[in-house]
Symmetry: C2
Subunit: 218 residues, 2 copies
DNA sequence: TTAGTATTCAATTATTTTGTTGAATAGTTG
DNA sequence: CAACTATTCAACAAAATAATTGAATACTAA
């Protein structure tokens, strides 16, 4: 009797974790925080709901220990609490991208809307970098790069790319990445570069995927 | 505009997956199905709610593509749809066992209630099996063993153990496993064996954990 | 075809969740 | 200390969820 009760409590606690990301806005919050720390106000703007609502969502995430807070001056900064959260989200995405026809359809629509053609994965990048000279560029906003980036990547935020083309070599293949499969910045960068006769290609994996891969190998 | 809308739809679909396991009963269903296929009626008994409710929960899981069905005679058999579901659940548990104080407390209560003392992990098992002679026994019900088991494990369901002690050697270390960290059968087996002067120890990982580990290595 | 049975559907009720607005709070900074 | 401000709390309405019971369905098997 007390046995089943204990068991039920454990399932209850476990489902509290998944409950925390069972809401689209909270899932989006976690995804945004995976890239970089943010204040409540910033997050509220990004997910387009009121500050009070955002705060409530963040508290759900916090009570499930998925995010943590730190004060900085007047602001409270939210961040992902642990890399195991990244793994959790990554496995949800894996399942979603693989099994849910609706998501596959959405991603294909997204790609064709944006004229996203060829792309490589992290594994492809490693393989190619052994055979040819590659320049890896991170086209996310500079703050996100500073908060963490793939080894050997150079920061060239998308909005600076046009002005900084002279920094880039025509002899190397340029690989651009941003926030992952659903981010359009790297594709835009590649389109610009290709129109200027650079050898450029998009990588669909981002910093988070690289970080998780690093850990696997240790 | 259509960009954010697409993004929102993706988060909505992703959260549908986590929503599916954001309920204790459904989490338990997935956990039960991780061991073995079941009919609706069997599942209903195991989670102690009505058949109609169980059916409805199963349909939520099915629409999120976490489980799938197959007819067998009069019965409809539910099973986990894909190993990526096991990975998802495993990452939820990892996060839960690591970060949620409440779960840690519950597990410790559980262990002390059951007098569960020493236990080893799969990694420990591999290491020890190179140094000494080990007999690995699977004490789950025979059906679960038949549905899948750790390589080289011998099936001795807990309720048969007493009668089959003569099959077991006193020279080897006996390692018993069942369904994982929250399953008490292996602990009971070890207690019985130790009282009969066997060298016995419990392994906290189960078949699911082993299966996921196998895949990692390929 | 008919009887039988496992499962699903429908309708209902109690409970929980989401998002809003406006007030309260806590902590910083001058 | 006092003013300021980012964040959280409280109260509410609308919507969604979980579980039950009883009826309907879909399939099997004789």
């Amino acid at each position: 009797m007390s046995e089943t009760s204990l068991k039920e409590k454990v399932y209850q606690e476990l489902s509290r974790i998944t409950h925390a990301i069972s809401n689209p806005k909270r899932m989006e919050l976690i995804d945004i925080l995976s890239q970089k720390k943010h204040t409540v106000e910033e997050l509220s703007k990004k997910i387009s709901i009121s500050i009070a609502s955002t705060s409530q969502h963040l508290q759900v995430l916090k009570s499930a220990k998925l995010v943590e807070t730190k004060r900085n001056g007047n602001f409270i900064i939210y961040s992902i609490s642990d890399d195991s959260v990244l793994r959790l989200v990554s496995s949800v995405k894996e399942l979603g991208f693989r099994k849910i026809a609706e998501i596959e359809r959405l991603i294909n629509d997204f790609k064709s809307d944006k004229n996203i053609l060829e792309s490589i994965t992290l594994d492809d990048l490693f393989a190619r970098s052994k055979k040819e000279k590659i320049l890896l560029i991170d086209v996310r906003p500079a703050e996100e790069y500073e908060s963490g980036h793939i080894k050997d990547a150079v920061s060239i935020p998308l909005d600076q790319l046009k002005k900084r083309l002279n920094e880039l070599p025509k002899s190397k293949t340029i690989v651009a990445y941003c926030r992952g499969a659903l981010c359009v910045m790297a594709a835009d960068a590649v389109k610009l570069l290709q129109s200027k006769k650079f050898k450029a290609i998009r990588m669909e994996d981002g910093y988070v995927e690289w970080k998780l891969k690093q850990q696997e190998q240790n």
